[in-house]
C-alpha cells in the first residue's frame, strides 16, 4: 500500500513538473513599456511602435494577455494599460490604453529587427517573401506560395492584358503579401478562377497584382472594382504542379464549412478531449492504485499496475503538452 | 507431518452444486492411499485441487505444510487420467522437458524404464499406441522424486497385463518416504498395493477411511467387497 501511494505521489509530482515545464516554454513574459508608449522591452528584445496601416495579423486568434510593467509617466496618463502578445507570432504585440477620459486606442509594436521589412510590406504591398491565397469558402484558410513559386507563375505562360470587367464571370478571392515571419498580411492582389471547372486540376486561374494599378481600379472601400473597364496585366497560372495544388485548394470545401451548430460541436469536442485525455486516465490511475493496494502489489499486479499508471500519465502529459504547444 | 492436509475444503463449478463439501482429512507420508468411489463423486476434482489445477471455492489445502501453489507443484507429481503431452514431441524431448522443469526428475531412471519397455525414445508421441502413451506418461511421472504422487485413474482403459505392469512400476519406483494417492474404481486390481483407503461419497464426503489391512481384519472382507456393500445401488 505504501509503495503504491509513494509511486502515485511521485508520478503526480512528475506530471505537475512536466506540465509546468512544458507550459512554461510558452511563457507569459513580463513586458516593460518605456515612457509614453515609446517602446516595449522584453528581456533583451526591443519592440518599437508599428503602424499596421491596412495590414492585419494573420493568426489573430492566438492572442493572449501578458504581464506589463509601466513607469510612473504612463501610469499617470492612462487608467488602463493592457498588453497582448501572440502565441504564434513572437515579434508582434499590441497595447490597448485607456486614458483618463475613457478614450481607448491601440498601438502595435514590432520587434526592432523586423521593423524595416514589415514597414515596407505595409507601405508598398509588394510581395517579397511569399503570398497567401484566401479560400473562397472561409476567411481563415489560406494557400501559401513562396516568392520562387510566384516568380515561376508570373514568368511562365506569359502575362495577358485584359479588362477587369471581363473577369466578372469568374470567381475571385484575395491574395495577401506576407512578411518573412508569416505574421503580417496585406492585400496585394486578386485571384480569379473559372467557375464550375470541368477539371479542377486544370482550370483557368489568373493573378492580378494591385501594385501599379491606379486608384480608378478601386472603389471607395478600397476593393477592386470588378465593373471597371480598364486594362490590367493578368498572369495566367500554367505551371502544372502549382496549378494542381492551387486548383485543389480553391475547389475543396472544408468539412466544417457553414455547418449549423458548429460551435456546439466544437464545444462538445473539447469536452470529449478532456474526458478522454484527462478524466479517463486519472480514473485509470485510481483503479490501478486500488488494484495494487488490494493485491499488495504482488507480482504481476505490481508491475502491471505500474505500467498502467505510467501509460495514463503519458496520455495526460501528451495532451497537456499538445494544448500548450499548438 | 502430514504430507497432505485438507481443511474444510469446498469446490463447486459453475452450476453452483458442490462437488466437494466440507472435506477435512490428512494423509501421512510413506503410504499408498486409494481414493475410491463411484463415478462423479469428486475423486478427480480432489486430485486436481491438490495438484493446483483447480482453485478451491472455500477452505485450504496444504502439501507438506505449504498452501497449494507454485512451490507445491515441485513437490507433487501428477498423472491425469488422459494423455496430456504435446503429440508432436518425441519421447526424448519429453524427457528433456521434464528434466528442464523438475529439479527432482531422475533422467537415468526414466531412460532405464523406457528401455525396459522397449519404447523408442526417438519416436514421436503421436505414433505410439494409447497404452504405450500412458506408459510413457507414467514413467515420466514416477521418475520424479516427489513428496506426493497423484495418480488419477492410472489403470483405466488398459489391458490387465498393462495394469499389472503399471502397478508394479508404481510400487517399485516410488520413494518409501513419499506418498502416493491413487484414484480408481477398479478396486480389485489396486487393493493389494494400498496401505490406506478413503471411500468418497457424492458431494465429496468421506464415507469410510482407514488402513486396508485393518479393515480386512475387522470385516473379513476385501476392499472390493466392502466397496460393493457401501455403494450398493
Amino acid at each position: 500500500m505504501k509503495r503504491a501511494i509513494v509511486l502515485v505521489l511521485a508520478l503526480f509530482i512528475m506530471l505537475c513538473t512536466c506540465s509546468v515545464a512544458v507550459c512554461a516554454t510558452a511563457p507569459l513574459e513580463a513586458y516593460t513599456i518605456v515612457g509614453d508608449l515609446e517602446k516595449v522591452l522584453c528581456g533583451e528584445v526591443t519592440f518599437v511602435p508599428f503602424d499596421m496601416g491596412s495590414a492585419f495579423v494573420s493568426d489573430w486568434r492566438t492572442v493572449r494577455e501578458s504581464e506589463v510593467i509601466i513607469d510612473d509617466a504612463a501610469m499617470k496618463k492612462y487608467s488602463s494599460v493592457m498588453l497582448y502578445s501572440y502565441s504564434s507570432i513572437d515579434y508582434l504585440l499590441y497595447v490597448v490604453v485607456t486614458d483618463n477620459n475613457g478614450n481607448q486606442r491601440t498601438v502595435y509594436f514590432i520587434r526592432e529587427s523586423n521593423y524595416a521589412e514589415c514597414a515596407e510590406l505595409v507601405a508598398t504591398g509588394e510581395i517579397r517573401h511569399g503570398c497567401r491565397i484566401e479560400s473562397i469558402y472561409t476567411y481563415d484558410s489560406y494557400f501559401y506560395l513562396d516568392s520562387e513559386e510566384l516568380s515561376v507563375w508570373m514568368n511562365t505562360g506569359g502575362p495577358k492584358k485584359m479588362s477587369v470587367s471581363e473577369m466578372t464571370a469568374y470567381d475571385s478571392t484575395a491574395v495577401y503579401a506576407v512578411d518573412s515571419g508569416g505574421g503580417i498580411m496585406t492585400l496585394c492582389g486578386t485571384l480569379f478562377m473559372e467557375p464550375y471547372p470541368e477539371d479542377r486540376f486544370d482550370m483557368e486561374i489568373y493573378l492580378l497584382l494591385h501594385s501599379g494599378l491606379g486608384d480608378e481600379f478601386f472603389d471607395s472601400y478600397g476593393d477592386l472594382d470588378l465593373s471597371y473597364d480598364g486594362e490590367a496585366v493578368f498572369y495566367p497560372l500554367t505551371d502544372g504542379d502549382t496549378l494542381v495544388a492551387v486548383g485543389d485548394f480553391l475547389t475543396t470545401e472544408p468539412d466544417y464549412y457553414e455547418i449549423p451548430g458548429m460551435e456546439v460541436f466544437e464545444g462538445l469536442s473539447r469536452v470529449m478531449r478532456i474526458m478522454l485525455n484527462i478524466v479517463l486516465p486519472i480514473g485509470g490511475m485510481v483503479v490501478a492504485v486500488v488494484i495494487m493496494a488490494k493485491t499488495r502489489a504482488r507480482m504481476p499486479y505490481g508491475a502491471v499496475c505500474t505500467l498502467a499508471i505510467v501509460g495514463c500519465a503519458l496520455v495526460i502529459i501528451g495532451y497537456i503538452a499538445t494544448e500548450c504547444l499548438s | 507431518m502430514a504430507v497432505l492436509e485438507c481443511k474444510n475444503l469446498y469446490k463447486s463449478y459453475k452450476s453452483g452444486k458442490y462437488v466437494l463439501a466440507d472435506m477435512s482429512f490428512s494423509v501421512p507420508s510413506g503410504k499408498i492411499v486409494g481414493l475410491l468411489g463411484p463415478n462423479g463423486c469428486g475423486k478427480s476434482t480432489l486430485i486436481k485441487t491438490v495438484a493446483g489445477l483447480l482453485v478451491p471455492t472455500k477452505g485450504e489445502v496444504f502439501v507438506d505444510g505449504i498452501p497449494v501453489g507454485e512451490s507445491t507443484k515441485s513437490l507433487v507429481s501428477y498423472l491425469p487420467e488422459r494423455t496430456y503431452f504435446n503429440s508432436w514431441m518425441h519421447v526424448d524431448e519429453l524427457v528433456s522437458y521434464f528434466a528442464d522443469f523438475y529439479a527432482d526428475f531422475d533422467k537415468e531412471r526414466a531412460y532405464q524404464l523406457l528401455f525396459d519397455l522397449s519404447i523408442d525414445t526417438k519416436a514421436r508421441l503421436s505414433t505410439l499406441s494409447k497404452g504405450t502413451k500412458e506408459k510413457v506418461q507414467l514413467i515420466l511421472v514416477m521418475s520424479r522424486r516427489a513428496r506426493l504422487y497423484l495418480l488419477d485413474e492410472p489403470i483405466a482403459g488398459v489391458d490387465p497385463a498393462a495394469r499389472e505392469y503399471i502397478l508394479g512400476t508404481i510400487v517399485s519406483n516410488y520413494d518409501p518416504s513419499s506418498t502416493i494417492m491413487i484414484t480408481t474404481h477398479l478396486i480389485s486390481d489396486v487393493e493389494q498395493v494400498l496401505d490406506e483407503f478413503m471411500f468418497l461419497g457424492y458431494g465429496g464426503q468421506i464415507v469410510m477411511a482407514g488402513g486396508t489391512d485393518d479393515v480386512r481384519a475387522e470385516t473379513g472382507k476385501s476392499l472390493d467387497a466392502l466397496f460393493r456393500e457401501v455403494y450398493r445401488c
Binding site: 504564434s88 507480482m299 499486479y301 501509460g311 503538452a321 | 463449478y13
Partner: protein
C-alpha cells in the same frame, strides 16, 4: 523458468512459421520477376500471358501479406493447445509462476508478430531488388525510376529533423500495439474457456469480433470527436503562422497519447488475463 518456457513456446511455433516465412521469400522473388515483366512498356506479349502474369502477381502479393495472419493463427493455436486443452494439465502443474506462463506466451507472440512484419518488409525489398535486377538483365531501367527511387528517396528524406524521435515513438507505439493485440487474443480465448466447456474457439471468435467493434467505435469517437488539429496543422504550418518548431514538438507530444493509452489498456488486459487464469479457469 521463463527462459525455459520461452524456449519451448518459440520452438513450437517456429516449427511451422519458418516454412510460411520461407514461402513468402520465394513468392517475393516470383513477384519481383512478374512485376518487372508487367510494368515493361511496349513489350510484345499476348493477353493470356499478361493475364497469367497479373494473376500470378496478385497471388504472390496475397501470399506475402497473409504471413501476419498465418503468424496470428500459429500463436493462437499454441496458446489454445497449451492452456485450454489436455496439454493444460501439464502446463498448469509445472512449478512455475502463472505470470511466467503468460509472459512466455506474450513474448513469443510479440516476437513472431515482429518477425512477420520484418519478413514482409524484407519481402517488399526483395521484390524491388529482383525487379531492378530483371531490368538490368533486359537492359532497361523502368523499374528503379518508377518504383525504386521514389520509394527509397522517401525513406532517406529527413524532412522534419525530428526523425529519430518520431521513429523511436513509432517503434514504441508499434510494440505497444502488438502487446494489446496479443492480449486481446489471449483474453478472448481465456474468457471463452472460462465461460464455456464446448465450442470455446467459436465463442472466442465471437468475443474477438465484439472487441473489434467496440474498439473501432471508441477509436472513431476519439479521433473524429476530438479533432486532432495538430497532426494536420503540421502540413499547413506556415499558412496558419504557427511556429514550425512548436508544431514538431506538438506532434511528438501527440504521439505520447496513443503510446500511453495502448500501454495502459494493455496493462489492464494483462491484469484481467492473469486474474482469470489464476482464479477462474477450471480445466475439466
Amino acid at each position: 523458468m521463463l527462459g525455459k518456457l520461452l524456449k519451448y513456446d518459440m520452438k513450437a511455433v517456429f516449427k511451422y512459421w519458418w516454412l510460411a516465412a520461407l514461402t513468402t521469400v520465394l513468392l517475393s522473388v516470383i513477384a519481383g520477376v512478374l512485376l518487372s515483366y508487367v510494368i515493361e512498356e511496349d513489350a510484345a506479349r499476348g493477353v493470356l500471358e499478361e493475364a497469367i502474369a497479373i494473376v500470378g502477381l496478385v497471388i504472390s502479393f496475397i501470399g506475402i501479406f497473409v504471413l501476419p495472419l498465418v503468424t496470428e493463427v500459429l500463436i493462437i493455436v499454441r496458446l489454445y493447445k497449451h492452456f485450454f486443452t489436455d496439454e493444460g494439465y501439464l502446463t498448469f502443474t509445472l512449478p512455475v509462476k502463472k505470470h511466467a506462463l503468460l509472459n512466455s506466451k506474450l513474448i513469443m507472440a510479440m516476437a513472431f508478430q515482429l518477425a512477420a512484419v520484418v519478413t514482409v518488409v524484407m519481402d517488399v525489398i526483395i521484390i524491388l531488388f529482383v525487379g531492378m535486377l530483371c531490368d538490368r538483365i533486359k537492359g532497361i531501367d523502368n523499374f528503379s525510376s518508377d518504383y525504386g527511387e521514389p520509394l527509397f528517396g522517401e525513406l532517406s528524406a529527413d524532412a522534419w529533423g525530428f526523425g529519430i524521435l518520431y521513429t523511436a515513438e513509432a517503434i514504441l507505439i508499434g510494440l505497444a500495439y502488438m502487446f494489446v493485440l496479443s492480449m486481446v487474443i489471449f483474453l478472448c480465448l481465456t474468457i471463452a474457456s472460462v465461460l464455456t466447456k464446448k465450442h470455446k474457439v467459436l465463442v472466442a471468435i465471437g468475443l474477438f469480433y465484439g472487441a473489434n467493434a467496440i474498439s473501432s467505435l471508441f477509436t472513431q469517437i476519439a479521433v473524429y470527436g476530438t479533432d486532432l488539429n495538430g497532426v494536420f496543422m503540421i502540413f499547413d504550418s506556415v499558412n496558419n503562422g504557427v511556429s514550425e518548431l512548436a508544431l514538431k514538438w506538438s506532434v511528438a507530444a501527440q504521439l505520447l497519447i496513443p503510446l500511453g493509452a495502448l500501454a495502459a489498456v494493455g496493462a489492464g488486459m494483462y491484469a484481467l488475463e492473469y486474474y482469470l487464469l489464476d482464479r477462474k479457469l477450471d480445466l475439466q
